[in-house]
Amino acid sequence: METVINIFLTFLGVYFLIGILFGIFFLFKAPKIDPLMADSKKKVRFLLFPGVIATWPFLIGKLFKSKTA
Amino acid sequence: MEDREFYVPYIEGSLGSKTKRVLKRFTIIAIGLIIIAAVVFSLVQRPFKNSTFELTSTTKITGTFHESPYPMLRVKVADNSYKNILLLGFGKSSANPFLEKLLAEVPHLNGRRLTIEGNLIYYNGKTLLQITDEEKVILENQKGNTPVKTALAEMTLQGEIIDPKCYFGVMKPGYGKIHRSCAVRCISGGIPPVLATTDDNNISEYYLLTDLNGNAINKDVLPYVGQPSEMKGTVEIMEDWYILKLDIENLTVISEASNIYSTDI
């Protein structure tokens, strides 16, 4: 059980760490993820920050797609 | 059928009267539910103990320091009557880190008189003192006597291993399943483990737990903390405290509810 817990908590820690890094990136470069963000107020980025942390694996792909498109 | 109401948030006045009535009824039912739930959840709480933790005020206490094996301060309360105040650290930790600075100067603190300023915790005749600042532990010049331990008997006791800091004041309830994790943290962090028992006449007794050699037993008891258990060992009396010298092999968790649940008001 302890190994399961350790693996899970390590995973959770890494997930949130990457999430926070990605979230900080988002605070500065939000339009790279969604072009609509360019026209939105800056405050909106702070409101979205926790959600970006929680769902970064689904958003990070946008970064590469928007480059090729 | 033609006047089926259709609400569009951004169209003023589209909230029809029938819809309004439904919303009103829903709101009233929700408020009723809120009140009923608040009444139920607040009134079903078991009575809390009148234990006290003086979080915001400090008290200065002078007494004789001894480690038996847990750090205590022996204080005279009347002629030939002494109280041994259990010393604790900040949060879920032992008093030892706060004594280290002094120990560096005076390696043998046993029997030395100290004045300590800290937060009192007390309940049912027992007193504990939380130290939060090593600067507030002051060495006095005199020496004092340490208490004598007298062996009483081999006994089998039923009760629950609690962390005395929470049980005697900091938390309510400071025992049982709700509190178990916290008690584990406290005892793991160095708070002395104590067995709380209550007999049929509703008299509670408290036993400081040690191993057979009288040393601290914190790590060994962790899996059993916060659960009704039965244990066998040698009981000693040390003025106002009992000590139970325990071989961890002689401890079993029992399935019946511990009666410390029902009787401590």
């Binding site: 969604d34 946008k62 | 259709f6 909230l15 709480q45 809390f48 103990k49 943290r185």
Partner: protein, 342 residues
């Protein structure tokens, strides 16, 4: 339906709604605190906060969970659904205060990291009555966090509606975890006939409302349609009200057939916003208007009127002797279809 993202798109209805949420939460906390201080005055403030906010959160969760089926059963509840998002976020905040305080009180200031302590201070994972119930609350709180944090249209469009919907369906998992958290935790030590009955009643209410709503929708999916040369016979023209729609399931997809201005048009039933049932909407100013938050689509091509860009699939219809037939093959989203004249 957005050209940029706002913090919150406010209107007077939402403001009133939010005032009611705050008032309700305050009412709960005040009644709980006053009764506790009067009848159980030896409480500690920390315990009061932990218990008041924990029980408040689960009450709010029940309210959140009944809104969905209620508005599927009776459209007059729809305005409550409209701003459910704020109710959900408030519920998370209450749960967070409870969980955060519990973690600080019971697990912080110790010899290990508080989160590690939540998982390891009690290792009786194979016992029911001794189970480390805090873990269940922690997992539920993670789910509620992810849901509350993504309660914004930004996430709907960027996570894709499917992922977003899946994430938000996890509220049922969170509900199950919380029920277990309470029954294996507080109720092991502080059970009372009243509190257990209240929880049981809550569970029965939520599950029976969901079952009733599911039955209602199954009727639509199970309705018999007759196939004739690739066209499905769906209903008589009189079955559809003016400016409204009827919903049918063709090829396992729900389709809304609208009647307006002496014409018929069919579009996919699922709103691009949060999947609201367009067929329960209404034609307003010539547009299909979603009953949930009012997104609009033109019935003849499934496109949101400019400048908006949402598109849903459209379907071909035909009319013979006042009987409506539909071609079950969906056309690409936003495809123009000439409406059928009645």
């Amino acid at each position: 339906m957005a050209l940029d993202y706002k913090l919150v798109i406010w209107n007077s209805f939402k403001k009133q709604y939010d005032k009611l949420i705050v008032a309700g939460m305050l009412l709960y906390i005040i009644v709980f605190a006053v009764l506790t201080f009067v009848f159980n005055s030896e409480t500690s403030v920390e315990t009061l906060i932990i218990r008041a906010f924990g029980s408040l959160a689960i009450i709010m969760l029940h309210i959140v969970l009944v809104i969905g089926p209620l508005s599927r059963l009776n459209e007059k509840f729809l305005p409550i659904l409209y701003n459910r998002r704020h109710l959900g976020v408030s519920m998370f905040l209450a749960a967070f205060i409870h969980g955060g305080f519990s973690m600080f009180q019971f697990h912080a200031l110790g010899d290990v990291n508080p989160i590690y302590s939540v998982f390891t201070s009690n290792m009786d994972y194979n016992s029911l009555s001794n189970f480390p119930f805090q873990v269940l609350g922690f997992l539920a709180l993670l789910i509620l966090f992810a849901m509350a944090a993504t309660s914004h249209d930004f996430f709907l469009s960027n996570l894709s509606a499917k992922v977003w919907k899946r994430l938000h369906m996890m509220v049922y998992l969170a509900y199950a975890l919380i029920i277990a958290h309470v029954f294996l935790g507080a109720f092991q030590q502080e059970a009372s006939l009243f509190s257990v009955s209240l929880m049981a009643l809550g569970f029965i209410t939520i599950s029976s409302l969901h079952l009733r709503a599911a039955f209602k929708e199954r009727k639509i999916d199970r309705a018999k349609t007759i196939v004739e040369e690739g066209w499905l016979e769906v209903c008589s023209i009189d079955d559809i009200e003016e400016d409204r729609a009827k919903i049918f399931t063709v090829n396992k997809e729900r389709v809304a057939i609208f009647k307006y201005d002496g014409k018929l048009s069919a579009i996919h039933n699922v709103c691009k916003h949060q999947g609201g049932p367009l067929g329960e909407g209404k034609i307003i100013d010539g547009c299909v208007t979603c009953p949930w938050h009012g997104y609009q689509y033109l019935p003849h091509n499934g496109q949101s009127p400019p400048p908006f860009t949402e598109k849903v699939a459209t379907y071909q219809l035909k009319l013979k002797n006042d009987i409506v037939y539909i071609n079950p093959e969906a056309l690409a989203e936003g495809t123009e279809v000439k409406p059928v004249d009645i």
